[in-house]
């Protein structure tokens, strides 16, 4: 059964999401697709990226940093961290960042959780 679950649009702002949107813009400019199709493609993207990140991505990393600010509003956690170091899986590269913002949403839309 296809689910009626709505998917977050937040991955549209990721680099792959913005690249997709730019490409859809180009296709609309060239009259190769119409905006309705672009909208459906983006909706599919929202679903696909959420599913792929959940089911297919097996890589992981750990990170440490100082928690500067946190808040929980409308079922969304936001953490702002400072001086963060990311340690990749299997002793890979260490990446540092001065500031990191983590936005964390509930995996299932409100009202559908157990």
């Amino acid at each position: 059964m296809a689910t009626a679950q709505n998917f977050y649009e937040l991955y549209r702002r990721s680099s792959v999401g913005t690249a997709l949107t730019d490409t859809l813009d180009d296709l609309i400019t060239d009259h190769r697709i119409d905006p309705q199709l672009a909208m459906k493609i983006l909706a599919n993207f929202d679903r696909a990226i959420a599913e792929v990140l959940q089911d297919k991505v097996r890589s992981r990393l750990t990170f440490k940093g100082s928690l500067h600010t946190y808040r929980f509003c409308d079922e969304v956690w936001t953490f702002q961290l400072k001086n963060v170091t990311f340690k990749m899986e299997n002793g890979g590269q260490v990446v540092s960042a001065d500031k990191v913002k983590i936005v964390s949403c509930t995996a299932k839309p409100t009202g559908n959780a157990a």
Binding site: M1, A4, P35, T62, G91
Partner: protein
Amino acid sequence: MENIQIPTTLPEVENLIHELYKPNSAETISRIQDVLQRLQKSDEGWQLAQGLLACSSDSVKFFGALTIIVKLNTASLSDNDALSVLQNLITWLINSLGDGSGPIVVRKLCSALVTYFIHYSHTWDRCVRHLLYCLNLNTSVPIDDIDESTPTESFIQALDTPKYFAASWFCTALAEDTEKIDTKSTKYISLHERLLSNAQDVTALMSHSFKIANGTSSTEAQKESIVCLQAWVLYAQRSPKQPLVENLQTLLPPAINGLICDELYESSIELLTDILGDWPDFFTPDQFNSLYSLFESQWSQERYQNLLQGDSDFDAIQFGLFMLAFGAARMNDMMDGNENRAQRFLAGLAGLLTAQGHPVAEDKIFVPALEFWSAFVEHLVDNLYAESSDNLPWDKPPLSQVMQVVSYSWQKIQYPMIDVYNSWDSAERAGFGDARKDVADFLQSVYTISGLPLVSLFVDLILQALSSSAWAELEAASFCLGALSDCVPEGGSCDDILNKVFGSSLFALLHQGHSVVPVRARQTCLYLIERYSDYFGRHAEFLPAALNLLFSAVGDRHLALPSSKSIYTLCSSCRGPLTSEVDAFLEQYSSLRNGTELDSVAEERVVGAIASIIQSITDKARKAESFRRLLILIGIDVDNCLRLRSLGEGALVDPNDTVIHRAFDATQRPTGPVLANDVSLQLAIRALRCLCSIAKGFQAPVDLDSDESSDEEPVDTNLDQVQADIMGILIQFRNLFSSNAEVVDVICTILRAGFSETDPGPFVFPPQAVTGFITGNWQNRIATVVNTASVFVTSLCSGKHKECIAPAICQLFPWVVGLLHQLPEPEDEPELSQYGIEFAERCLAKQSGIVMSQDPKLLEFIFIFAIKLLNGTEPLPKAAAAEFWTTFILLKVDDQDTQATIDNAMSHLGPQLAQSLVHNIGGKASRSELDRLSDPLKKLVVKHIHSQKWLEAALNDPSFPSDKVSAQEKTLFLKKIISLRGSRPTNQVVREFWLACRGSSFAYVS
């Protein structure tokens, strides 16, 4: 069928439809479709459909119904015309039920009726009742003629089986197709309201099938009702309305009863599993109780036992998934240890992890079950967070169940015998590996509650496995212990527990080779050493044994990669205690080089590891001597490389020559003679990669206290010589091999390794040497070299040699501009353009005075170049140019002459820059570039008094790229931009203006 003539008669159309459904080439089918679609969309489409539906063939009738759907979707009808279409459609449906038409025709006609409802629902609001009435009378009657006094149930009871199925298909399609229509669109609000007014009739139809007597037709009808219910639940979930939800809830008990009927099992279990997973609140408490009872029934126990005994049929797996969905829906019950019924069920869920077979390859329920348990533990963690975690009742449910799952899961991830593993396909092997990772994740979650006892558990399991030589158990327990390494506290509070493993006979056993411990167990144990490198840092007494073991494994091709990785991690993180071992390690490396099996990646890690130990030697003479010994070993490859290169074109090397072993890894080794030049290149790459690893190993650890670096280090003449030797190698390799991209990349990485260092070292070259080297002759990847120059300038500005900045920029800036000048067009080499303009931006940001004092022709070129990039289409150079202009606009220096030059340049370039920005914002830029382009615009508005004039001129210039915005809108945009004074909302204004310039077609995304 070269040219298809447009058919002029019905038989011709029929023939064409038959051709369409015959096996034909894709091209032919596409041409037929084109012709038929033209007919469908023509004014004669209605008559055509009528004619086709009167034919005898199912495929022709199907096409007729499809034509009706096309016409309904494309034509606009008056209400009267629409109603007459409806009458005809119902007539055709009734006729097709009586004339023996196949289900394909009946279903398509039902779809056509639903299409009618979507477009003309205002003329057919009680569609289900009307259709049932017509089916009952076996004729199409006007809507107003419905007998309102008779309940819908009476119409339904009178239907024969084919008519019941048709009504059921219509109701299913009604929910499915309407669900796709946006509920928020004002155009369709009434459609959804009218659909809801039919809910009671639909419920009556579905519940009828569950009441009728037994028999094949009744089972089929029930199956159709379950499918219909699934569609309606999906619709209701999207916009839950109380009466609809209550109506549908009444149908769940018969669906639950359907589970025990073999014919209904599949559709019922799919329906119930989906609802439990997606919308558990749909179930009432009584219905949950029914499900609890069902799970305790004999029927469930049989299914459960079948699953545990390795039944991997679809039905069996479905049952397991159903249990898991129920457990997830009742998670709160499961966490309550006093809920006996829930705890019995939870024990069943733990038992799912004991199903026979290896995960993924044979046991398909293991991964979903483990996912449930991971979620369960996460919930437990959330619940326990506020409570004291001391004295948790681990011997009572649900925590006892969690420990049971830990026990089951580590046993399940033991590797099978090698012949069984080899019989799996690649997906099964990958799936098994992923299942192990899932177990590692699960254990990390459990650690959050249990803490050190979990570490103790796996330590004990390792010791037991060691004593009984149970290698599969040893491997799995070591894997689990390794998974917990990220969780254990840093202070060493679990060292006593770990001592038991690392002080055991483990190292001695592993030393004995494959004949004693199988490869896989050895690999995992070596990985375990790396995972606990912090522990070895605190326990130097175990380090030599661990490293001796690891070095002994590097020469083994199965263990080279895990052992070299562990060597690198241990030596890098425990460098201080290991300085006394450096001679032994150099000996080990030297003897490894003499073998034929030393893998190049493993070698890089080993030399990097030794270099990191040498880096921490405090005695300078000993440090220099150790480094010299390491460099001599690398020098052997360099000498061989140069010797082979000197043999000239066409010279060949025998494949048995020992130099081949150094040039090629075992898997890539050639079997015939190889060109000496090719071998020479491979040796150069290997030597450079080793040098690169050494350079990284020589970098001071990141946590080194910066106060420790001495400012007044005496000049070390030995160091000068070492640097000159290394630089000599780099220059020779650049001159000989810089046409190879990898050579250039590695050379640049070696240089960068020294840039970040504050203390002198073999790779911290004098700035003038670096500048001279960078501006030398390169044959490939010049963009990478330019990027390295940028990093170099930045490092100079933050390092000790500030006096070297000006000479470096004076030499590098003209060199970079010269490279950019050679490009026919700025976007011919986007990477070079990007790095070139980034270099200029960094110089401007760090030393604007020096840049502005350069030759005016160079400056003019770079400014025009940056404008051209901004006008271009390449995203990365454009982003770099936007940053360049942001930096330039903000420039403010104390020196009045330099400031005057900057102001003068800005007044000349301002109009061009404004025009470029306005063109981009006016629709030329990609959507993703807008934020970056807003930056220079914001700075321009704040910093320059003429910015408004420049922007206004650009907006009103005939070359403005869009005709979709009026002069007024442009003026309003400018007014907003100016009044916002460079604040953040400017980005939104820019976005809105870009959208207005592009047009409404681009408003599809929020």
